[in-house]
């Protein structure tokens, strides 16, 4: 009965409404807030007692006054409608159309919060996805169901890289049904446009669902947007059996919105003002990636985040790295040298690649080659640092070979065109050409048999 009642609120602060005198409201319930102009805003109950109910308003509380704002408790959880008609559509964070087309008509409704996947229902991500990008395929392989973020910064080409991955990704040999769920939180109009045009050019727009919250859209909506998007992704993956790639950008904007609400609520901050529950909150989002046993589909997730001040120890990249299955770190230094994609090899990592590469998946020597490249490149960077202090004169012959190796890794393996789609075999071939710059005795991560088969000392001179 309460449903019909409109209530006045007693206080409004930083995206939150405080409503008194409505006992018995359930946590998480949906709220309709009618502002002075008669427009309806979407809210959700985030704390409730007999005396006061706290409502988070996704469109924000800007312009709300206490006299002409009416709140209605809908007595239903925050659900969205789902159907096949999702594909090709554009929505906002609460699932309302942004593309001037009618809302979805649908019988299926799901709570945007989902519910935790039972770990025993999962199966390990293990199918190699060829992205055509050498650094990723060769060194930080992406596998179906993995969550692999791009750690970036303002001005770095994370969008171009993410778009290239979406464009080129396919699983060798299999033309599976795929979908892209694109979730944008606080991104610029230009960035959103960039992706949209890219999908269009690629002719995949019909396989893409977009959830968009732009930089000038309400910040609080960013808190629900990834949940809405992932609810759609789960439907596509597990109801319709599709392989879904989810791009979440930019996680930093999401975390900042969370901090804003936490501050307004008076939550105890942990680090840099972010609430202590940021880890669990992000995990609720990122852990929705994966594979489920005996289900056809999968959710592969590529969150993009910008590291504040390029600091990888900042709570946002830090907590993300603790949750995701690796990270692709972009380097401002490489970018400055005109290298695309500017992937920083040493701090990047893919934790689940071991199950997706090697004999039967990519090539038998792949895991060892990757290991050797990391190790030799790490050594080469040490030499480079040394050379920057003492000059190259005093370096040993081997050390000079390492310097050359580092340079060519960056130029030949890392660098590639935005439309260049390399096969994994091409990538491994380049890798061996580069390893052949070093004496075989230095290459202890590969087997003697690998050396015999692939190490071509004499060819190393030909590397341009």
């Amino acid at each position: 009965m309460r449903e019909k009642d409109y209530r006045l609120s007693s206080a409004v602060r930083g995206g939150l409404l405080f409503v008194r005198g409505v006992p018995g409201v359930a946590l998480g319930d949906r709220v309709a807030v009618r502002d002075h102009a008669g427009r309806i805003r979407n809210g959700q109950v985030i704390r409730t007692s007999d005396e006061v109910v706290l409502v988070q308003v996704f469109e924000g509380t800007d312009g709300l006054d206490l006299e002409r704002t009416w709140t209605r408790f809908l007595e239903q959880p925050f659900e969205i409608g789902l159907s096949r008609e999702l594909m090709g559509r554009i929505f906002n964070g609460v699932g309302q159309p942004r593309d001037d087309r009618p809302p979805l008509v649908s019988g299926i409704r799901r709570n945007v919060n989902g519910s935790p996947m039972n770990p025993v229902a999962r199966t390990r991500p293990r199918e190699f996805i060829q992205t055509g990008i050498s650094t990723i395929d060769g060194l930080y392989s992406l596998v179906r169901g993995q969550k692999l973020p791009i750690f970036s910064g303002p001005g770095l080409p994370h969008n171009r890289l993410a778009a290239q991955i979406v464009r080129q990704s396919r699983i060798i040999g299999a033309q599976a049904r795929f979908a892209v769920v694109f979730a944008a939180m606080g991104v610029s109009y230009a960035d959103a446009r960039f992706f949209q045009e890219d999908f269009e050019r690629d002719g995949v727009l019909g396989n893409v669902v977009m959830y968009i919250n732009l930089a000038d859209d309400p910040t609080i909506e960013r808190l629900i947007l990834p949940r809405t998007a992932l609810t759609a992704a789960e439907y596509l993956a597990y109801d319709l059996g599709m392989h879904v790639m989810v791009i979440l950008t930019d996680i930093t904007n999401y975390a900042e919105a969370l901090r804003e609400v936490a501050m307004a609520r008076g939550d105890v901050p942990a680090r840099k003002g972010y609430p202590g529950y940021l880890y669990s909150d992000l995990a609720e989002i990122f852990e929705r990636a994966g594979r489920i046993r005996n289900r056809g589909g999968s959710i592969t997730m590529m969150p993009v985040l910008s590291m504040p001040s390029d600091d990888i120890t900042h709570p946002i990249p830090d907590l993300t790295g603790y949750i995701t299955e690796g990270q692709i770190v972009l380097s401002r230094e490489l970018h400055g040298q005109g290298i695309y994609p500017p992937v920083d090899l040493l701090p990047s990592l893919s934790r689940v690649m071991k199950d997706g590469i090697g004999a039967g998946e990519t090539r038998e020597d792949h895991p060892r080659v990757a290991n050797q490249i990391y190790a030799s490149y790490a050594r080469a960077i040490e030499v480079r640092n040394l050379a920057s202090i003492i000059g190259t004169e005093d370096l040993s012959e081997t050390d000079r070979q390492y310097l050359e190796f580092a340079k060519l890794i960056e130029k030949r393996l890392v660098t590639q065109g935005e439309d260049e789609d390399r096969s994994i075999v091409e990538t491994l071939t380049i890798a061996w050409q580069l390893l052949s710059l070093l004496p075989p005795d230095e290459l202890t991560r590969v087997r003697e048999a690998d050396l015999a088969k692939y190490h071509r000392r004499e060819q190393s001179a030909e590397v341009p």
Binding site: P23, R47, T48, D50, P116, M117, P119, R124, D318, I390
Partner: protein, 598 residues
Amino acid sequence: MNAAGPGRIVEVNGPIVTVNLPQVTIGEQVRVGELALVGEVIERDGERAVVQIYESTESLAPGQTAIPLGHPLAAELGPGLLGNIFDGLQRPLTKILELSGDRIARGLTVAPLDRARQWHFEPAAGLGAGSTVAAGAVLGTVPETETIIHRILVPPDVSGVLVNLAPAGDYNVEQVIAQVRDGDRVEHPLKLYHRWPVRTARPYGRRDQAGVPLITGQRVLDTFFPLLKGGRAAVPGAFGAGKTMVQQQIARWSNAGIMIYLGCGERGNELVEILETFPQLTDPYTGRLLMERTLLVANTSNMPVVAREASIYMGVTLAEYYRDQGYDVVMVADSISRWAEALREVAGRLEQMPVEEGHPAYLASRLATFYERAGRVQTLAGGYGSVSLIGAVSPPGGDFSEPVTSHTKEIVQTFWALSKELADARHYPAIDWTESYSGYVDTAANWWAENVDRHWSARRAEALSLLLQSDELARIVNLVGPEALSPAQRWVLEGAALLKEGLLQQSALDEVDSFCSPDRQFTLLDLLLDLYHQGRNLIDVGVPVQRLLQLPVLGRARRAKSVYSNGQMVELRAFAAEVRDAFQPLHLEYASTRENSA
């Protein structure tokens, strides 16, 4: 505890629910709302009680009922635990999958132990009606898995005279197998299982000195920073540094009697990895499937935080229970930081005063109380058992000065510090030899001397000192270049590099090297040091470092760990002899040049 009548919900604030229940006690379980979600009382304030709920509180509303259950969170302890995976409340996740599908539904109650399964019970020899049984005594045994004999214990809070004891036969866990009459003439029916409140340490006879190293098969752990059975260790490290890998390697290869893997606020896929790989792996000591001695407790990062907080107590209670049966139990907990965060979240909701980075003042004491449950003991039954606790720590920003790492450091004796720099250079396991320490080296030395080689202690110290010397020299090189070093000093750098590659680095993914037996650990250590010394002698007679580096045995020595398996010790020793001989020609050459020039 006596259950009182029902009350009502007053407030719902995230996982914290305030109810008006005047008679509940701290720790008591309360069931709330229409979904019958369970939680535990953490604060009392007059008429009101504050309950932390183990599941998501979405859809709970003020006014709904709250029913006190009259008992605290308790573990069911009996046969059928091994090989299983439980959540932090000991609900079997495989059963939950059958009941609610891929997603964990709320409000499910599932008995931890299978009620239908029959176990073959064999009463203990010499026990029967009229026998006096002490608390914790062994009533009989049940073969729980092929390798593990489950000892059925008199609960620690029961003792008296046996009124009767069931004969050998098959029983399910609910059948009464014994009646004990206590001093107050109260009869206690005993079953194959009993319950124990998880936040209370299980009693034991007395503490005993831990004396035997836990062999993990990981060289940098066993040889350099050993842990004893019954010891406490921490594995701190930034993300990607290798905490989980270290713990999974320990779970795979250590010579524990029982292994408990606690996934506390970490990734679901990491548990799946164990569930999918362990059933195929065999224990290097018994040759039996690893899963027979393993049990998992899982509260992944996307599962509710309050159950995460409870999960470490659930895990350690299960560990103590097998300890009380006389086993050496190892629990790896990944990660203690996530537990601390759960604690912090609840403290924050209760508006308790934060002291450091939002953590409550009682963080240090809770941590200490938890780790205190490790140890080797004489059990109530008179045998010996141990619980070793190995906790991962995930410091924000990889900064070891943060509260959880620094408090942990005061508690543990073995500190396996993972270095981001080593991990970035793919030196795995990335255990930093300068930051790490073990307070158990002297005790472990006795074991190594008796069982492997009496030179262990000296060799270990020598290797560590070579590594530290090399770090020192590397700093000089970075300032003024390698030319500043004498040939002997440059050979130190080479010797340390050899140790790092040939000994410290050990890939978990290398089939030959993933597990390294103590014998092979020492042989490799000895071989590499020998190589260093041989080279050093040659440098003294004027052989240039460059000449030494050209010796093919060097490359072979670096690879020896992946070439000679644990079963190929004869071949490895033959190679060690070859290493010695390889220097002979150079020796002769330079000795003669010297003579000629003299």
